[in-house]
């Protein structure tokens, strides 16, 4: 048995000694060694039983992932509360691909997709409509409450759960998310503890108007990296009560801060649950200060490189919704695109325009907005639940001029980031 430092219960020691099988032993060993690195004193129960996995993609190269899943299935191990998973990588119905691109997707990139989905279903995946990075939206149903302990991965979901819902989750890696969900315990350290949820940065928002969420998040992430920011001055733009609008804003801001940096938790003065509860008591002594004004936002925006082969190309594909759009964002984008095209007497959007949202959000939107959906569809807008990042992994699309309003997608692909109003202009002009 490995040497370990934390205190374990007899049940946990039994697992570590292999009394419940070799796969569970390795899973427990991983969690214990992981916790020991950060000085965890014990393992604590996962109180929000439904997990969320970051690894949705059947990339054959990820041999360790499939081998582990195979072991989990073979031993009949399952996540007690089930789990949701990040978005699926393919959607040929709504995201057009040529034959060659499909060959690369099917044979090289995601050749194990079906097999992996079956493995996940056996291990506890809720259903085939549970693929979204926004599992915490009401439509998706995997929404923890304040104080819950989670075993999740997906950086944008973790930062949302911690910050907006007040749940407690570390920035776990893929694999460890599933291990914690199956074993039912996670090591207690980091963002699970009060002392690490205090802010070590004060971010003062002094802009003249509401900052673009994705640029504000990017600026914060690049500055504070993995530390916890306490954001002042944002509530005057987005309000002091959580609602669907500012939750969507914080979703996008948080995702950018987690991908352009490593933020796992932020507090927004007068708005997010812990900031409302404790106010400035959440700020550590000697917290560093970062002032964000119009000039700073502009500096950050202009620092993003243009990776397109032809720098001034016309848009070929536009992805809006990384992380996936909320119901209201989806509706608003459809309305705005349709209106803009009508105002210009145009009958089609420029290039492929893909709005991405969770399968259950998409279904609700189509059901409740039949006419708007049909109108947007006729103008060339497609709704998908794909992960845009997984699409851009295909080397054959690297030469394409891809637009996005996502700072996360920009970071992991050759896509160019534009602000929301710029994107609307570019796809409807």
């Amino acid at each position: 048995m490995i040497d370990y430092k934390m205190e374990l219960t007899q049940e946990q020691i039994d697992i570590l000694e292999g009394k419940k099988g070799d796969t569970l032993r390795k899973m427990m060993e991983t969690l214990v060694l992981f916790g020991d690195i950060f000085g965890a004193k014990r393992m604590v129960p996962v109180t929000h039983k439904e997990g969320h996995l970051v690894t949705s993609f059947g990339i054959p190269l990820l041999r360790p992932l499939f081998k582990t899943m195979e072991e989990i299935n073979k031993e009949g191990l399952k996540a007690e509360g089930g789990f949701t998973c990040d978005p699926a990588p393919l959607d040929y119905e709504n995201v057009k691909c040529n034959l060659l691109e499909k060959v690369v997707f099917n044979k090289i990139l995601y050749g194990k997709q079906e097999e992996y989905t079956e493995q996940m279903l056996k291990a506890g995946l809720v259903d085939k409509d549970s693929f979204s990075c926004t599992c915490y939206l009401e439509e998706c149903g995997n929404r923890p409450k304040k104080g819950d302990i989670l075993s999740w991965a997906e950086s944008s979901a973790v930062v949302f759960a911690n910050s907006v819902l007040g749940a407690r989750c570390n920035r776990n890696s893929g694999m460890l998310d599933l291990f914690g969900s199956i074993i039912g315990y996670v090591p207690e350290f980091g963002l699970l503890l009060d002392e690490n949820r205090r802010a070590t940065w004060i971010v003062e928002v002094k802009t003249s108007k509401v900052p673009e969420a994705q640029i504000l998040g990017s600026a914060i992430g690049m500055k504070v990296m993995e530390e916890v920011p306490y954001i002042k001055g944002l509530d005057r733009f987005i309000g002091s009560e959580l609602d669907h609008e500012n939750e969507a804003y914080l979703k996008d801001m948080g995702a950018a801060s987690a991908s352009n940096g490593a933020v796992g938790l932020f507090h927004v003065e007068n708005l997010t649950p812990e900031a409302k509860e404790s106010g400035e008591n959440l700020i550590s002594p000697n917290a560093k200060k970062y002032i964000i004004d119009d000039t700073e936002l502009d500096r950050v925006y202009k620092s993003y490189p243009n990776m397109w082969k032809k720098k001034d190309a016309n848009p070929e594909i536009t992805f809006i919704g990384c992380p996936h759009l909320t119901y209201y964002q989806l509706k608003s984008w459809c309305e705005n695109i349709v209106k803009s095209l009508k105002d210009r007497s145009k009958n089609k959007v420029n290039g492929q325009v893909i709005l991405t949202s969770a399968p259950k959000v998409k279904a609700k939107f189509i059901k409740e907005n039949e006419f708007l959906y049909k109108e947007a569809y006729d103008y060339g807008v497609r709704l998908s639940s794909i992960c845009p990042l997984m699409y851009t992994n295909n080397p054959l699309v690297h030469g394409k001029a891809i637009l996005t309003n996502s700072n996360k997608l920009r970071t992991y692909s050759m896509a160019r980031y534009f602000k929301d109003d710029e994107i609307l202009e570019l796809i409807t002009k």
Binding site: L65, N172, S173, G174, S259, G261, Y412
Partner: protein, 146 residues
């Protein structure tokens, strides 16, 4: 010659060339292109990393403050270890972050990888070491810039 001492996360002895990132190292963005294309070496593909974009880090000693970005990070480290195109060692100036720690532990427990990892080497280490420097790593956590 200057020696720094850190905390051993995964021990080993190794002498090799440094590749230094002064900013957070985005694991997915850095390894993504080479790993997906089944390359025999890793050329850093993170457009945001001014120090290492385009640099070959296979079997090098990666010197960094922490890793950042997607929570696939740990699995990505485990996978490049499985492929045998990983950096030989990760040397962190700060305390290792949770994603890199996951990756090192996954690679050790499930892949039995010989990857070396030391953290808490201090900011002076990162200020001193330069890409291309020859480093000697000892299993007690001592790192010497030769």
């Amino acid at each position: 010659m200057k020696t720094f001492k850190g905390r051993v996360i995964a021990k080993g002895n190794f002498t090799g060339e440094a590749a230094v990132s002064h900013q957070g190292f985005n694991t997915l963005a850095s390894f993504q292109k080479s790993a997906l294309m089944k390359k025999k070496k890793v050329i850093v593909s993170d457009q945001n990393n001014k120090d290492l974009y385009g640099v070959d880090i296979t079997n090098k000693i990666l010197c960094l403050p922490i890793t950042i970005g997607s929570t696939t990070g740990g699995l990505v480290i485990q996978t490049v270890c499985d492929m045998g195109i990983n950096p030989a060692a990760f040397l962190f100036s700060e305390e290792i972050d949770s994603l890199a720690a996951s990756g090192i532990v996954l690679a050790k427990v499930w892949q039995n990888s010989p990857i070396i990892c030391i953290d808490k080497l201090g900011i002076e280490f990162l200020d001193t070491v330069k890409t291309g420097d020859k480093l000697e790593i000892k299993e007690d956590g001592a790192v010497t810039i030769l």
